[in-house]
């Protein structure tokens, strides 16, 4: 196998390793940390796939910006929806 193929394979093993890790961690009582941890591992996997399999690493900067731009929108979308959901009723008055 040549070098690029080897690299793809290493990434594959890393992905499987992360999968095993997250499944194993799900069997440990981690309380409130379970969610953030599982999502962090998922994000790591996603980064590996995007960076190497989707070849973002070697694309020109302009394309990288376009590829990652939607994450900014998603971030604000999530933040502002949560700003409502989490704070609802927080002034101690029904419906405010």
């Amino acid at each position: 196998m040549n070098a690029p193929l080897k690299r793809l394979t290493y990434i594959y093993f890393a992905l499987l390793g992360l999968l095993a890790l997250t499944v194993a961690l799900s069997q440990v009582p981690l309380g409130t940390f379970a969610g953030p941890l599982a999502l962090t591992i998922a994000a790591l996997k996603a980064i590996l796939v995007a960076r190497d399999y989707m070849k973002l690493k070697t694309e020109p900067a302009g394309l990288q910006v376009i590829a990652l731009a939607p994450l900014f929108w998603v971030g604000v979308f999530i933040a502002l929806v949560w700003a409502d959901v989490l704070m609802r009723g927080s002034v101690g008055i029904p419906g405010k």
Binding site: P94, G95, K96
Partner: protein, 297 residues
């Protein structure tokens, strides 16, 4: 054609913000329109005026104009946000009246003076709090004379608080589209003197009705023993939940605990309470809440 009277302090204050906005807008609109007309007239094709060295940009002027607009805008934001916060927070402990909306009528339930349809009677000069919910779709409780409205949602309570300061009858409108007869879903706000308000004959007291429900559903069987948390003087207290969270036991909390008891479980107890969703009407829920608020069980 007449503007609706403003019958509360906050209504006047909202009018003031609106006037300030109107002033600012008029100024800017006149400035823009006037400049357009002036330029069109002065620089109309063929007019003999100096056209040499037209500027390409004017960063500094632009920054100054934007800066002024930003500051004025921010000032108005701050003013109106403060007023909004006040509107939201004020009178949080005022005596409450329940409003139950349904296509296309408002059932008004005053815990002390009984029920009414499409007529909300409130005492002059005293803070009132409306606790509202809907039995079907989203409605919105809008009182133009008070300059306030609040959407009324199924499945939870929303509130509206105010202090009416003028005797009379005022229009209440549904302002969230709710189906065929949306436009006729109107009611009257009847502001009466404190004396007249007190002299109304009380019908069945709500606390009484609540007590009946409490007994009928045998709430005490669990809530006076070790299986369920005690309910005495529950209202307004901070309740520790499983998982370390705390909630204030307001109307929405009590309501949630009745229709969806497994959602927030009090620390030290297990999820054994059955749901009363569908078994208690909104009216009965309100009565039960009144009974718990009286603090006796």
């Amino acid at each position: 054609m007449e503007f609706p009277a403003a019958i509360s302090q906050t209504a006047h204050q909202i009018d003031h913000v609106s006037l300030a906005l109107l002033g600012m807008s008029t100024l800017l609109v006149v400035a823009v329109w006037f400049t357009i007309v002036l330029f069109c007239w002065r620089y109309y094709k063929g007019s003999q005026v100096d056209r040499t060295n037209p500027p390409k940009k004017a960063r500094r002027l632009e920054l100054v104009v934007m800066g002024i607009i930003f500051l004025v805008g921010f000032g108005i934001f701050f003013w109106s946000a403060r007023l909004f916060y006040h509107l939201t927070l004020a009178n949080r402990n005022a005596p409450e009246i329940f409003i139950i909306a349904k296509q296309w009528m408002w059932t008004v339930h005053d815990p002390r003076y009984g029920d009414n349809i499409n007529r909300v009677i409130v005492p002059l000069g005293q803070p009132v709090r409306l606790i509202m919910t809907s039995e079907d779709v989203i409605h919105s409780f809008y009182i133009p004379a008070l300059r306030i409205k609040q959407d009324v949602l199924p499945g939870r309570y929303t509130t509206l608080a105010f202090v009416p300061e003028k005797i009379g009858q005022y229009e209440i409108l549904c302002s969230q589209y709710c189906g065929l007869d949306h436009a006729t879903m109107r009611a009257t706000l009847d502001v009466v003197s404190a004396e007249d308000y007190r002299n109304r004959t009380a019908s069945v007291s709500s606390v009484h009705l609540g007590k009946d429900i409490y007994i009928k559903h045998q709430c005490a069987a669990c809530h006076s023993g070790p299986t369920a948390p005690p309910l005495t003087h529950l209202y307004g207290q901070s309740v520790a939940l499983q998982g370390g969270k705390h909630v204030i036991a307001d109307e929405n909390y009590i309501r949630r605990s009745l229709v969806d008891p497994n959602r927030e479980i009090v620390a030290g107890y297990s999820a054994v309470m059955p749901t009363f969703q569908g078994q208690l009407s909104e009216r009965e829920l309100a009565a039960l809440i009144e009974y718990l608020k009286a603090g006796t069980p």
